[in-house]
Protein backbone atom coordinates (compact mmCIF):
# COMPACT_ATOMS: atom_id res chain seq x y z
CA UNK A 1 0.00 0.00 0.00
CA UNK A 2 2.58 2.54 1.12
CA UNK A 3 5.14 1.57 -1.51
CA UNK A 4 2.80 3.21 -4.03
CA UNK A 5 3.94 6.49 -2.52
CA UNK A 6 7.66 5.64 -2.76
CA UNK A 7 8.05 7.25 -6.18
CA UNK A 8 6.28 10.40 -5.04
CA UNK A 9 8.44 10.52 -1.90
CA UNK A 10 11.67 10.24 -3.93
CA UNK A 11 10.33 12.94 -6.23
CA UNK A 12 9.55 15.20 -3.25
CA UNK A 13 13.12 14.86 -1.95
CA UNK A 14 14.58 15.61 -5.37
CA UNK A 15 12.25 18.58 -5.87
CA UNK A 16 13.28 19.97 -2.46
CA UNK A 17 16.89 19.50 -3.55
CA UNK A 18 16.34 21.32 -6.83
CA UNK A 19 14.44 24.23 -5.22
CA UNK A 20 16.86 24.51 -2.30
CA UNK A 21 19.82 24.34 -4.66
CA UNK A 22 18.38 27.18 -6.73
CA UNK A 23 18.02 29.43 -3.67
CA UNK A 24 21.55 28.55 -2.53
CA UNK A 25 23.01 29.21 -5.97
CA UNK A 26 21.38 32.59 -6.39
CA UNK A 27 22.43 33.83 -2.95
CA UNK A 28 26.00 32.59 -3.42
CA UNK A 29 26.56 33.76 -7.01
CA UNK A 30 25.00 37.21 -6.82
CA UNK A 31 26.86 40.31 -5.60
CA UNK A 32 26.09 41.86 -2.20
CA UNK A 33 26.03 45.65 -2.19
CA UNK A 34 23.79 46.97 0.56
CA UNK A 35 23.05 50.58 1.46
CA UNK A 36 20.11 52.02 3.45
CA UNK A 37 18.15 53.58 0.58
CA UNK A 38 18.18 50.34 -1.39
CA UNK A 39 17.08 48.21 1.53
CA UNK A 40 13.80 50.13 1.89
CA UNK A 41 10.70 48.22 0.79
CA UNK A 42 9.64 49.31 -2.68
CA UNK A 43 6.89 51.92 -2.72
CA UNK A 44 7.25 53.62 -6.11
CA UNK A 45 10.13 55.86 -4.99
CA UNK A 46 8.57 57.04 -1.73
CA UNK A 47 9.54 55.94 1.74
CA UNK A 48 7.04 53.53 3.18
CA UNK A 49 4.00 55.55 4.35
CA UNK A 50 2.14 52.88 6.33
CA UNK A 51 3.23 49.52 7.62
CA UNK A 52 1.69 46.59 5.75
CA UNK A 53 1.13 44.75 9.02
CA UNK A 54 -2.22 46.22 9.96
CA UNK A 55 -5.89 45.46 9.49
CA UNK A 56 -7.23 44.46 6.10
CA UNK A 57 -10.70 43.90 4.70
CA UNK A 58 -12.86 41.36 6.49
CA UNK A 59 -13.96 40.04 3.07
CA UNK A 60 -10.81 37.95 2.86
CA UNK A 61 -11.65 36.17 6.12
CA UNK A 62 -15.18 35.60 4.91
CA UNK A 63 -13.96 33.95 1.72
CA UNK A 64 -11.65 31.74 3.78
CA UNK A 65 -14.53 30.61 6.00
CA UNK A 66 -16.75 29.93 2.97
CA UNK A 67 -13.90 27.99 1.39
CA UNK A 68 -13.61 25.69 4.40
CA UNK A 69 -17.38 25.02 4.32
CA UNK A 70 -17.71 24.41 0.61
CA UNK A 71 -14.45 22.54 0.14
CA UNK A 72 -15.36 20.00 2.80
CA UNK A 73 -18.70 19.54 1.07
CA UNK A 74 -16.93 19.15 -2.27
CA UNK A 75 -14.81 16.36 -0.75
CA UNK A 76 -18.02 14.40 0.02
CA UNK A 77 -18.76 14.33 -3.70
CA UNK A 78 -15.61 12.40 -4.61
CA UNK A 79 -16.40 8.96 -3.09
CA UNK A 80 -20.03 9.32 -4.16
CA UNK A 81 -19.03 10.07 -7.76
CA UNK A 82 -16.78 6.98 -7.91
CA UNK A 83 -19.55 4.70 -6.59
CA UNK A 84 -22.40 6.42 -8.44
CA UNK A 85 -23.14 3.61 -10.90
CA UNK A 86 -23.41 1.06 -8.08
CA UNK A 87 -25.60 3.27 -5.88
CA UNK A 88 -28.08 3.95 -8.69
CA UNK A 89 -31.33 5.79 -8.00
CA UNK A 90 -30.87 5.70 -4.21
CA UNK A 91 -27.53 7.46 -4.46
CA UNK A 92 -28.91 10.05 -6.84
CA UNK A 93 -31.82 11.05 -4.57
CA UNK A 94 -29.56 11.16 -1.51
CA UNK A 95 -27.15 13.45 -3.34
CA UNK A 96 -30.03 15.57 -4.65
CA UNK A 97 -31.03 16.26 -1.03
CA UNK A 98 -27.42 17.06 -0.17
CA UNK A 99 -27.10 19.45 -3.10
CA UNK A 100 -30.38 21.12 -2.12
CA UNK A 101 -29.10 21.76 1.41
CA UNK A 102 -25.81 23.00 -0.06
CA UNK A 103 -27.79 25.18 -2.47
CA UNK A 104 -29.83 26.71 0.35
CA UNK A 105 -26.59 27.54 2.16
CA UNK A 106 -25.13 29.12 -0.97
CA UNK A 107 -28.35 31.08 -1.55
CA UNK A 108 -28.28 32.34 2.04
CA UNK A 109 -24.68 33.57 1.72
CA UNK A 110 -25.52 35.09 -1.67
CA UNK A 111 -28.61 36.97 -0.38
CA UNK A 112 -26.76 38.20 2.71
CA UNK A 113 -24.19 39.75 0.35
CA UNK A 114 -21.36 37.48 1.48
CA UNK A 115 -20.23 37.01 -2.12
CA UNK A 116 -20.31 40.70 -3.11
CA UNK A 117 -17.17 42.79 -3.50
CA UNK A 118 -18.04 46.45 -3.67
Amino acid sequence: MLEQYLGAAIMLLMALGIAGGMVMMTSLLGPKREFPDKMEPFECGESQLVSPHQRFSVKFYLVAVLFVLFDIEAIFFFPWAILFRRLGMFGFIEMLLFVLILGVGLLYVWKRGGLDWE
Binding site: L6, L12, V23, M39, P41, H53, A64, A81, M95, L115
Partner: protein, 358 residues
Amino acid sequence: MWVDLIIALVKILFIFAITVGFFAPVLTWVERKQSALMQDRIGANRADIMGFTVLGLFHIIADALKMFTKEDFIPDGANKILHTMSPIIALVPALITFAVIPFGGQYTLFDKEVNLVISDLDVGLLFVFAIASLATYGYVIAGWSSNNNWSLLGSMRTASQMISYEVSMGLTIIGILMVYGSMKLTEIGAIQENFWMWGIFLQPFGFIMFLTASIAENKRIPFDAPEAESELVAGYFTEYSGLKFGMFFMAEFIEMVTIGAIMTILFLGAWHIPFLTSATLLSWFDFLGTTGANIVLMLIHVGVFFGKVVFFIWLQMIIRWTLPRFRYDQIMKLGWKIILPLSLANIMITGLVILALK
Protein backbone atom coordinates in the same frame (compact mmCIF):
# COMPACT_ATOMS: atom_id res chain seq x y z
CA MET B 1 13.63 -4.57 -6.55
CA TRP B 2 16.71 -2.71 -7.80
CA VAL B 3 15.36 -2.78 -11.33
CA ASP B 4 12.09 -1.20 -10.14
CA LEU B 5 14.00 1.51 -8.29
CA ILE B 6 16.13 2.28 -11.33
CA ILE B 7 13.03 2.44 -13.56
CA ALA B 8 11.36 4.80 -11.04
CA LEU B 9 14.47 7.02 -10.98
CA VAL B 10 14.63 7.12 -14.77
CA LYS B 11 10.97 8.19 -14.91
CA ILE B 12 11.50 10.90 -12.27
CA LEU B 13 14.58 12.22 -14.05
CA PHE B 14 12.68 12.24 -17.34
CA ILE B 15 9.85 14.29 -15.78
CA PHE B 16 12.27 16.77 -14.21
CA ALA B 17 14.20 17.03 -17.47
CA ILE B 18 11.04 17.77 -19.41
CA THR B 19 9.47 20.23 -16.92
CA VAL B 20 12.42 22.07 -15.32
CA GLY B 21 14.86 21.44 -18.14
CA PHE B 22 12.68 21.88 -21.20
CA PHE B 23 9.22 23.41 -20.71
CA ALA B 24 9.99 26.03 -18.02
CA PRO B 25 12.87 27.74 -19.90
CA VAL B 26 11.39 27.30 -23.38
CA LEU B 27 8.01 28.70 -22.30
CA THR B 28 9.64 31.99 -21.20
CA TRP B 29 10.73 32.33 -24.81
CA VAL B 30 7.43 31.08 -26.25
CA GLU B 31 5.50 33.60 -24.17
CA ARG B 32 7.51 36.51 -25.59
CA LYS B 33 7.49 35.15 -29.12
CA GLN B 34 3.73 34.52 -28.98
CA SER B 35 3.04 38.07 -27.77
CA ALA B 36 5.32 39.46 -30.47
CA LEU B 37 3.47 37.44 -33.10
CA MET B 38 0.04 38.51 -31.89
CA GLN B 39 1.01 42.17 -31.56
CA ASP B 40 2.81 42.26 -34.91
CA ARG B 41 6.28 42.82 -33.46
CA ILE B 42 9.53 41.03 -34.20
CA GLY B 43 10.10 40.08 -30.57
CA ALA B 44 12.93 38.45 -28.72
CA ASN B 45 15.74 38.29 -31.26
CA ARG B 46 18.67 40.27 -29.78
CA ALA B 47 20.69 37.71 -27.84
CA ASP B 48 23.23 36.13 -30.18
CA ILE B 49 26.30 33.93 -30.12
CA MET B 50 28.75 34.90 -32.90
CA GLY B 51 25.92 36.55 -34.79
CA PHE B 52 23.57 33.57 -34.69
CA THR B 53 20.25 34.25 -32.97
CA VAL B 54 18.29 31.01 -33.79
CA LEU B 55 14.88 32.78 -33.53
CA GLY B 56 15.93 34.35 -30.24
CA LEU B 57 16.35 31.02 -28.46
CA PHE B 58 19.59 32.26 -26.87
CA HIS B 59 17.47 34.57 -24.73
CA ILE B 60 16.81 31.52 -22.55
CA ILE B 61 20.53 31.20 -21.77
CA ALA B 62 20.86 34.95 -21.27
CA ASP B 63 17.89 34.96 -18.85
CA ALA B 64 19.24 32.03 -16.88
CA LEU B 65 22.69 33.62 -16.54
CA LYS B 66 21.19 36.95 -15.53
CA MET B 67 18.94 35.41 -12.88
CA PHE B 68 21.78 33.42 -11.34
CA THR B 69 24.12 36.39 -11.09
CA LYS B 70 21.68 39.06 -9.83
CA GLU B 71 21.85 40.21 -6.24
CA ASP B 72 19.68 38.21 -3.87
CA PHE B 73 17.89 41.08 -2.15
CA ILE B 74 15.86 41.00 1.09
CA PRO B 75 14.35 44.35 2.15
CA ASP B 76 14.59 45.82 5.66
CA GLY B 77 11.93 44.59 8.05
CA ALA B 78 11.28 41.43 6.02
CA ASN B 79 11.22 38.06 7.71
CA LYS B 80 14.44 36.62 6.26
CA ILE B 81 13.67 32.94 6.84
CA LEU B 82 10.13 33.04 5.43
CA HIS B 83 11.23 35.30 2.59
CA THR B 84 13.81 32.68 1.56
CA MET B 85 11.51 29.72 2.10
CA SER B 86 8.47 30.88 0.17
CA PRO B 87 9.84 30.39 -3.39
CA ILE B 88 10.69 26.82 -2.37
CA ILE B 89 7.17 26.26 -1.00
CA ALA B 90 5.72 27.66 -4.23
CA LEU B 91 7.94 25.64 -6.58
CA VAL B 92 8.03 22.19 -4.92
CA PRO B 93 4.25 21.43 -5.24
CA ALA B 94 4.38 22.45 -8.90
CA LEU B 95 7.24 19.98 -9.41
CA ILE B 96 5.73 16.97 -7.64
CA THR B 97 2.12 17.02 -8.91
CA PHE B 98 3.50 15.25 -11.96
CA ALA B 99 4.19 12.18 -9.77
CA VAL B 100 0.69 10.76 -10.34
CA ILE B 101 0.17 11.91 -13.93
CA PRO B 102 0.74 9.09 -16.43
CA PHE B 103 2.56 10.16 -19.60
CA GLY B 104 1.97 6.86 -21.39
CA GLY B 105 0.33 3.47 -20.93
CA GLN B 106 1.77 0.10 -19.94
CA TYR B 107 4.42 -1.61 -22.04
CA THR B 108 6.23 -4.93 -21.92
CA LEU B 109 9.92 -4.19 -22.22
CA PHE B 110 12.33 -7.15 -21.90
CA ASP B 111 9.63 -9.26 -20.16
CA LYS B 112 9.00 -6.48 -17.64
CA GLU B 113 5.78 -4.50 -17.28
CA VAL B 114 6.67 -0.81 -17.39
CA ASN B 115 3.96 1.63 -16.31
CA LEU B 116 4.71 5.18 -17.40
CA VAL B 117 3.68 6.88 -14.18
CA ILE B 118 5.84 7.56 -11.15
CA SER B 119 3.27 6.75 -8.43
CA ASP B 120 0.15 4.96 -9.64
CA LEU B 121 -2.16 6.04 -6.79
CA ASP B 122 -5.83 5.07 -6.46
CA VAL B 123 -6.56 8.63 -5.34
CA GLY B 124 -4.51 10.17 -8.15
CA LEU B 125 -6.74 13.13 -8.84
CA LEU B 126 -7.13 13.99 -5.14
CA PHE B 127 -3.34 13.89 -4.79
CA VAL B 128 -3.05 16.47 -7.58
CA PHE B 129 -5.55 18.82 -5.90
CA ALA B 130 -4.06 18.30 -2.44
CA ILE B 131 -0.50 19.02 -3.50
CA ALA B 132 -1.35 21.84 -5.90
CA SER B 133 -3.26 23.71 -3.20
CA LEU B 134 -0.18 23.66 -0.94
CA ALA B 135 1.39 26.20 -3.29
CA THR B 136 -1.04 28.80 -1.89
CA TYR B 137 1.11 28.90 1.27
CA GLY B 138 4.16 29.82 -0.78
CA TYR B 139 2.41 32.81 -2.37
CA VAL B 140 0.79 34.04 0.86
CA ILE B 141 4.02 33.76 2.84
CA ALA B 142 5.91 35.52 0.04
CA GLY B 143 3.64 38.54 0.23
CA TRP B 144 3.36 38.61 4.00
CA SER B 145 7.07 38.26 4.74
CA SER B 146 8.18 41.01 2.33
CA ASN B 147 7.07 43.94 4.52
CA ASN B 148 5.70 45.67 1.45
CA ASN B 149 2.18 46.97 0.91
CA TRP B 150 1.97 45.86 -2.71
CA SER B 151 3.15 42.37 -1.80
CA LEU B 152 0.64 42.05 0.99
CA LEU B 153 -2.25 43.18 -1.20
CA GLY B 154 -1.14 40.76 -3.90
CA SER B 155 -0.89 37.86 -1.51
CA MET B 156 -4.32 38.53 0.04
CA ARG B 157 -5.81 38.54 -3.44
CA THR B 158 -3.91 35.36 -4.31
CA ALA B 159 -5.18 33.57 -1.22
CA SER B 160 -8.82 34.50 -1.84
CA GLN B 161 -8.69 33.74 -5.53
CA MET B 162 -6.88 30.41 -5.23
CA ILE B 163 -9.10 29.02 -2.50
CA SER B 164 -12.28 30.23 -4.24
CA TYR B 165 -11.36 28.51 -7.47
CA GLU B 166 -10.25 25.39 -5.65
CA VAL B 167 -13.87 24.80 -4.62
CA SER B 168 -15.09 25.32 -8.19
CA MET B 169 -12.28 23.20 -9.62
CA GLY B 170 -13.10 20.32 -7.29
CA LEU B 171 -16.78 20.41 -8.23
CA THR B 172 -16.28 20.75 -12.02
CA ILE B 173 -14.33 17.50 -12.03
CA ILE B 174 -17.02 15.42 -10.27
CA GLY B 175 -18.96 14.89 -13.53
CA ILE B 176 -16.01 13.25 -15.25
CA LEU B 177 -15.41 11.03 -12.20
CA MET B 178 -19.02 9.85 -12.31
CA VAL B 179 -18.67 8.95 -15.97
CA TYR B 180 -15.41 7.02 -15.60
CA GLY B 181 -16.02 5.68 -12.08
CA SER B 182 -12.38 6.03 -11.05
CA MET B 183 -9.91 8.55 -9.67
CA LYS B 184 -6.91 6.57 -10.88
CA LEU B 185 -5.46 8.61 -13.73
CA THR B 186 -3.96 5.55 -15.47
CA GLU B 187 -7.41 3.92 -15.52
CA ILE B 188 -9.10 7.08 -16.82
CA GLY B 189 -6.45 7.25 -19.54
CA ALA B 190 -6.91 3.59 -20.50
CA ILE B 191 -10.71 3.94 -20.88
CA GLN B 192 -10.22 6.66 -23.48
CA GLU B 193 -8.68 4.28 -26.02
CA ASN B 194 -12.21 4.35 -27.46
CA PHE B 195 -12.48 7.70 -29.26
CA TRP B 196 -16.14 8.24 -28.27
CA MET B 197 -15.25 7.85 -24.60
CA TRP B 198 -13.06 10.98 -24.65
CA GLY B 199 -13.99 13.31 -21.80
CA ILE B 200 -14.56 16.28 -24.06
CA PHE B 201 -17.56 14.51 -25.65
CA LEU B 202 -18.95 13.16 -22.38
CA GLN B 203 -18.48 16.34 -20.34
CA PRO B 204 -18.28 19.38 -22.64
CA PHE B 205 -19.45 21.81 -19.92
CA GLY B 206 -17.17 20.23 -17.37
CA PHE B 207 -14.31 20.75 -19.81
CA ILE B 208 -14.94 24.47 -20.28
CA MET B 209 -15.52 25.13 -16.58
CA PHE B 210 -12.45 23.14 -15.57
CA LEU B 211 -10.30 25.02 -18.10
CA THR B 212 -11.54 28.36 -16.73
CA ALA B 213 -11.09 27.36 -13.10
CA SER B 214 -7.61 25.98 -13.65
CA ILE B 215 -6.40 29.11 -15.47
CA ALA B 216 -7.78 31.14 -12.55
CA GLU B 217 -6.06 28.79 -10.10
CA ASN B 218 -2.78 29.39 -11.92
CA LYS B 219 -3.37 33.19 -11.75
CA ARG B 220 -2.71 33.80 -15.44
CA ILE B 221 -4.30 36.58 -17.47
CA PRO B 222 -7.32 37.16 -17.55
CA PHE B 223 -7.23 36.16 -13.87
CA ASP B 224 -3.93 37.80 -12.90
CA ALA B 225 -5.31 40.27 -10.33
CA PRO B 226 -2.81 38.96 -7.72
CA GLU B 227 0.18 40.20 -9.73
CA ALA B 228 -1.52 42.92 -11.82
CA GLU B 229 1.52 44.91 -13.01
CA SER B 230 -0.44 48.10 -13.56
CA GLU B 231 -2.04 48.07 -10.09
CA LEU B 232 0.27 46.26 -7.68
CA VAL B 233 3.74 46.63 -9.30
CA ALA B 234 4.25 42.86 -9.32
CA GLY B 235 1.98 41.63 -6.54
CA TYR B 236 3.36 39.09 -4.11
CA PHE B 237 6.84 38.90 -5.69
CA THR B 238 7.56 42.65 -5.79
CA GLU B 239 10.45 42.28 -3.33
CA TYR B 240 12.05 39.27 -5.00
CA SER B 241 15.10 39.31 -7.22
CA GLY B 242 17.42 36.91 -8.95
CA LEU B 243 16.51 33.27 -9.22
CA LYS B 244 14.07 33.50 -6.28
CA PHE B 245 11.97 35.74 -8.52
CA GLY B 246 12.53 33.30 -11.35
CA MET B 247 11.29 30.41 -9.23
CA PHE B 248 7.81 31.95 -9.00
CA PHE B 249 7.75 32.21 -12.77
CA MET B 250 9.07 28.69 -13.11
CA ALA B 251 6.27 27.45 -10.81
CA GLU B 252 3.72 29.23 -12.98
CA PHE B 253 5.06 27.74 -16.21
CA ILE B 254 5.33 24.23 -14.75
CA GLU B 255 1.75 24.55 -13.48
CA MET B 256 0.74 25.43 -17.03
CA VAL B 257 2.28 22.15 -18.17
CA THR B 258 0.57 20.28 -15.32
CA ILE B 259 -2.81 21.79 -16.20
CA GLY B 260 -2.26 20.80 -19.81
CA ALA B 261 -1.37 17.26 -18.73
CA ILE B 262 -4.43 16.87 -16.49
CA MET B 263 -6.71 18.26 -19.19
CA THR B 264 -5.17 15.80 -21.65
CA ILE B 265 -5.70 12.84 -19.32
CA LEU B 266 -9.26 13.73 -18.35
CA PHE B 267 -10.70 15.24 -21.51
CA LEU B 268 -8.56 14.72 -24.59
CA GLY B 269 -7.94 10.99 -24.71
CA ALA B 270 -4.66 10.91 -22.76
CA TRP B 271 -1.93 9.25 -24.88
CA HIS B 272 -4.29 7.66 -27.47
CA ILE B 273 -4.61 8.51 -31.15
CA PRO B 274 -8.27 8.59 -32.34
CA PHE B 275 -9.43 5.30 -33.91
CA LEU B 276 -5.99 3.72 -33.46
CA THR B 277 -5.86 1.18 -30.63
CA SER B 278 -2.59 0.06 -29.08
CA ALA B 279 -3.18 -3.45 -30.44
CA THR B 280 -3.38 -2.12 -34.03
CA LEU B 281 -0.20 -0.11 -33.61
CA LEU B 282 1.56 -3.12 -32.07
CA SER B 283 0.57 -5.32 -35.02
CA TRP B 284 2.02 -2.74 -37.46
CA PHE B 285 5.42 -2.89 -35.79
CA ASP B 286 5.30 -6.63 -35.16
CA PHE B 287 8.39 -7.23 -37.33
CA LEU B 288 10.54 -5.53 -34.64
CA GLY B 289 9.80 -8.25 -32.08
CA THR B 290 7.81 -7.80 -28.84
CA THR B 291 10.24 -5.41 -27.15
CA GLY B 292 10.97 -3.45 -30.30
CA ALA B 293 7.26 -2.97 -31.09
CA ASN B 294 6.60 -1.96 -27.48
CA ILE B 295 9.40 0.59 -27.55
CA VAL B 296 8.01 2.13 -30.76
CA LEU B 297 4.51 2.15 -29.24
CA MET B 298 5.83 3.81 -26.07
CA LEU B 299 7.63 6.52 -28.06
CA ILE B 300 4.49 7.19 -30.14
CA HIS B 301 2.30 7.40 -27.02
CA VAL B 302 4.67 9.70 -25.13
CA GLY B 303 4.97 11.86 -28.23
CA VAL B 304 1.19 12.05 -28.68
CA PHE B 305 0.70 12.84 -25.00
CA PHE B 306 3.15 15.73 -24.98
CA GLY B 307 1.77 16.90 -28.32
CA LYS B 308 -1.63 17.31 -26.68
CA VAL B 309 -0.03 19.01 -23.67
CA VAL B 310 1.65 21.48 -26.03
CA PHE B 311 -1.76 22.14 -27.61
CA PHE B 312 -3.21 23.08 -24.20
CA ILE B 313 -0.21 25.29 -23.42
CA TRP B 314 -0.73 27.03 -26.75
CA LEU B 315 -4.42 27.51 -25.88
CA GLN B 316 -3.49 29.10 -22.54
CA MET B 317 -0.98 31.38 -24.31
CA ILE B 318 -3.61 32.47 -26.85
CA ILE B 319 -6.07 33.24 -24.05
CA ARG B 320 -3.37 35.14 -22.15
CA TRP B 321 -2.60 37.46 -25.06
CA THR B 322 -6.22 37.88 -26.20
CA LEU B 323 -8.20 38.86 -23.11
CA PRO B 324 -7.74 41.86 -20.81
CA ARG B 325 -7.58 41.41 -17.03
CA PHE B 326 -10.89 40.99 -15.17
CA ARG B 327 -11.68 43.22 -12.22
CA TYR B 328 -11.25 41.53 -8.87
CA ASP B 329 -14.97 41.50 -8.04
CA GLN B 330 -15.67 40.00 -11.46
CA ILE B 331 -13.19 37.21 -10.77
CA MET B 332 -14.81 36.37 -7.44
CA LYS B 333 -18.26 36.60 -8.97
CA LEU B 334 -17.34 34.19 -11.75
CA GLY B 335 -16.00 31.68 -9.25
CA TRP B 336 -18.73 31.76 -6.61
CA LYS B 337 -21.85 32.87 -8.47
CA ILE B 338 -21.42 31.29 -11.90
CA ILE B 339 -19.05 28.32 -11.95
CA LEU B 340 -20.08 26.93 -8.54
CA PRO B 341 -23.88 26.72 -9.21
CA LEU B 342 -23.29 25.60 -12.80
CA SER B 343 -21.00 22.79 -11.72
CA LEU B 344 -23.58 21.61 -9.16
CA ALA B 345 -26.17 21.58 -11.95
CA ASN B 346 -23.70 19.74 -14.16
CA ILE B 347 -23.25 17.02 -11.53
CA MET B 348 -27.02 16.51 -11.21
CA ILE B 349 -27.63 16.46 -14.98
CA THR B 350 -24.76 14.01 -15.47
CA GLY B 351 -26.34 11.79 -12.81
CA LEU B 352 -29.74 11.91 -14.50
CA VAL B 353 -28.27 11.05 -17.91
CA ILE B 354 -26.25 8.14 -16.51
CA LEU B 355 -29.36 6.77 -14.76
CA ALA B 356 -31.49 7.22 -17.88
CA LEU B 357 -28.98 5.35 -20.07
CA LYS B 358 -28.65 2.52 -17.59
